[in-house]
Each structure stands twice: as C-alpha cells, then as structure tokens.
Amino acid sequence: MTTIGLLALQGDVPEHAAALRRLLPPEALTAVRRPADLERVGGLVLPGGESTTLARLLRETGLFVPLARRIAGGLPVFATCAGLILVAENLSAGSGTPDPETLGGLGITVRRNGYGGQAESFEAPVRIPEIGPESFPGVFVRAPRILAVTAPVRPIAFRGEEVVGVARGSLFGFTFHPELGADPRLHAAWVASFAPELLRGKSPAATPAPPKGRRRPVPRTPARR
C-alpha cells in the first residue's frame, strides 16, 4: 500500500492530518521528521507554516537534500501556502530578509506575503474546473502570490482571473489552505492522481466532514509510531 507522508516540522500539521484521516485508512498516513521517514513514503504533504522557518528546519534535520532529490524524481507532493513557496523554482524578492533557498519542483515564480500582512488575509471562493463546477472555499492567510507559471506546470485554481493553484503531474500547489476548511475535494483529487486505491471504501461522501467551525479531536502529530 502507498504511504502518504506529512512533513511534521512546523505549521498546520494537525489540520492536514485531520483532512487526510477523513479520506485514508489510518495506516496509510505517517509523519515525516527525519530522512529515514522519507524513504517509506509514496507521496508527501507540505503544510502551511513559516517558509523561512521550514526551510531552515529542513536543512537542520538533513531532509533538504534527499527531499529535493525525491521531488525531482517525481514524488507526488501536495503543497499549501508555505509548502508552495518551498517547491517554487523562483522566488521574487520581497521585503526585508533574503528569500529562503527552495526545494524546487514547480516551474513557477512566487512572491511571499503577496497581499501584505495578516490584516490582508482573506476568504474568497476559488474556481477549480478540474474538480467540478462548485466553487472551493479559499482561505488565504498571509498568502504568497504566483507571478509566473512555466509549462509544463498548469494553472488549475483561480480566484477571479488570478492563478492561485498549479499542478505538474501529481505535484500540486496552492497559495491557500484547503486544510483549514471542511471541503475534502482537493486532498482527494491529489491522492486519486497517484494512489486511487487508498480512497476506495472511504469516500468523502461516506465520511462527511464535521460541521463548520468544529474539528474532531486530533492527536498532536499524525500516525506517530
């Protein structure tokens, strides 16, 4: 069975874990905190958090180089917000400190904090034609902005005319946080793109998301041994 890893260094790890647990058998999910954890995974979620902190922690844990290599080799990745920044090939210089070095993988140019500070964070519906006509709840928290997309990367999510999500094969990246809402469609579409067998018998419809504003009790880190 394919194992899905969740990078559990810093950020909204419990929220991604909760979203994935609604879709997957429990044994299919594992936390990635050191290089050895990486060897066992067939797909990896890069959560939201602080990109500078995450980049630093990837270096310190020795994950940076093997992870960059796995991504270059085609590892399926689901990256949100800070996670998207980490897989962008190019960062456009923002304010203050130098941009962190990225893992690469997606031929896009991203500007960190593209809308401003937390006061400019927003919720807005997002259009994702590939998962259906119904809009997706976009939660943008100090979100990055995608300034340029280079083929073969495809724009897949749009807020108005602006690109807010891209994909190349099973490497998905979004500037917003699907894990903060209760809509499982994006996590499900990603898993379906490389390990559809994991979704069998546990469709989002069979296990409805909890009501808005409530979360189920979530252990602090996913599937720790």
């Binding site: 203050g96 939660v139 946080h177």
Partner: protein, 309 residues
Amino acid sequence: MPGTIPDLRHGSVLLKRGFARMQQGGVIMDVTTADQAAMAEEAGAVAVMALERVPADIRAAGGVARMADPVKIREIRERVSIPVMAKCRIGHTSEAQILQALDVDMIDESEVLSPADPFGHVDKRPFRVPFVCGARNLGEALRRIDEGAAMIRTKGEAGTGNVIEAVRHIRQIRDEVAAVGRWPRKELAGWARRERVPEALLLEVRELGRLPVVNFAAGGIATPADAALCRLLGVDGIFVGSGIFKSEHPMKVARAIVEASLRYDDPELLARISSGLGEAMKGLDLTPLAPAELLQNRESGPARSAISP
C-alpha cells in the same frame, strides 16, 4: 468578470485562528530592536514580538509599562518577513487600534504591561487582526476566547526565567480539559455560569478534547530544556521572552530553543544542543514574591462591547 472578486471576507474567525495555526511547533521571540528581530528570524523563529523592553527589564525598571513606540514597531516590520506581533495593555482598546493601524500581524493583550482597564478586557471580535491572550486556567482561557482571542498562551511568570508557573498553567488547563470530558451535562452548566463563559464553548472543548484555538507556553522559559518540557506537556508552541537576549550567547540559545521545540522527544539531540550555551539568564525565585508582584494575577473582567473600534 476580471477585477471583481465576489464574497471577499477579511478578519473572520477562521482567518484569525488559521493564522495562529500556522505558528504551531514554532518559537515566537521577544525582540526590542530590528537587529534582534533579524537575528530571531535567522535563528528560525516563526514570529517576533516587538517590545520596548523585555519582561526582565520591565520587572527591574518598575513604573508603567506601555505599548512599544510605533517607530520601533515599524523598523522591526521593515526588517523581517516573518510575522510581527506587539503587546497592548489589558483593556487598552486604543493601543490595540494603534497596533492594528501599524499593520502588526497579531496583538498580544498582555499582563506583562501595566493593565489599563480594571473592569474589562479589549473586545477583540471587531478587530481584523487576531489576538493572543494569557491564561492560567480553563475558565480564563475560555473568557478570552469568548472575547475573540484566536490564540491562548500560558501566563507563566514573565521575566523570571523560572518555568514553574508556565508548567503550572499548562497542567491546570490540561487537567481541566480532561475533567470537562468526564463531567455530567448539568455540572457543565453550573461551571460555565460560575466562570462566566458560554456553555456552548465548554461543550466545544468537551467535544474536541482540547481548546478550540492553538495553545502556546509563555512566561519563564529560558533554556532549550524548558521549551522541550512545555512541548512534552502538550502545548502547540513556545513564546520566549527574556530567555534569549538576556543570555550570554543569544544566537546559540535562540537556535537551540527552536530545535528543542521541534525535537522535544529526542533526549540525545537535546543533550547536544544544550551544550556550550554559556550562561542562561539569571532567573528569579518566586517564593519571596508577594501576590501583587506576580504579573500573572493581572486579569480584568470579561470584555463588554461598550467600546468597539
């Protein structure tokens, strides 16, 4: 239609709590200058708290402690790309409005500063920017959440370098959350009334088995081992105040505390990163302190919406 974005919403509960969730596992550091802020970012802090003086110096200086100078907050904002937080006095709605106008990412309504309103905390709900507030126990945490706090931190005892109070507050909240899970429904109603919190909020805690917002440790954390202990006890992240820039080698201590917050369950790594850090901040024994000298005892009444921004 290009240019028109329907249903754009700012300042929602989801956005405020969501911002706090992005800080999980991280360390938020007190800084008093732009140089310190740059150092904190370099060390891996997830955010900085911009202050006029660190709590140990506030304690030593005495007098009235207020919101930091806006010039200083701007300098710090311009220097780093990680979020910048700042403190306002308890109940000081105007300081909070000024901080929001300065575009800080989160406001700490903090007992470390001199309280401004003896009767009420800031009504945090109308603000677009999220708040973090200190709490010693579940009732206090829920009163602040009810007022709109998007994040809770233990009060601990700031500026002492003594972790005992932070540990007390972590355990207190944790034990009360566990107890709420066992109580019969009608006991919950009585407790909620006595603690002046809505019963619905208490029921939510019971269902989740934890606070509905992120809970960090703060107040007296001075070493990597202190940070690791708090994380072992179940908090979602760490605030470090005086512990870093009052130590002999701030950069080393800052890096070590960041790593300890992440790898708190790896004693061998903790042993390695705790080595050669030089002298920690001196610290303060709390036994001789009178109740009035304890910053943690500062709590005003629940916010009333008489003043709103």
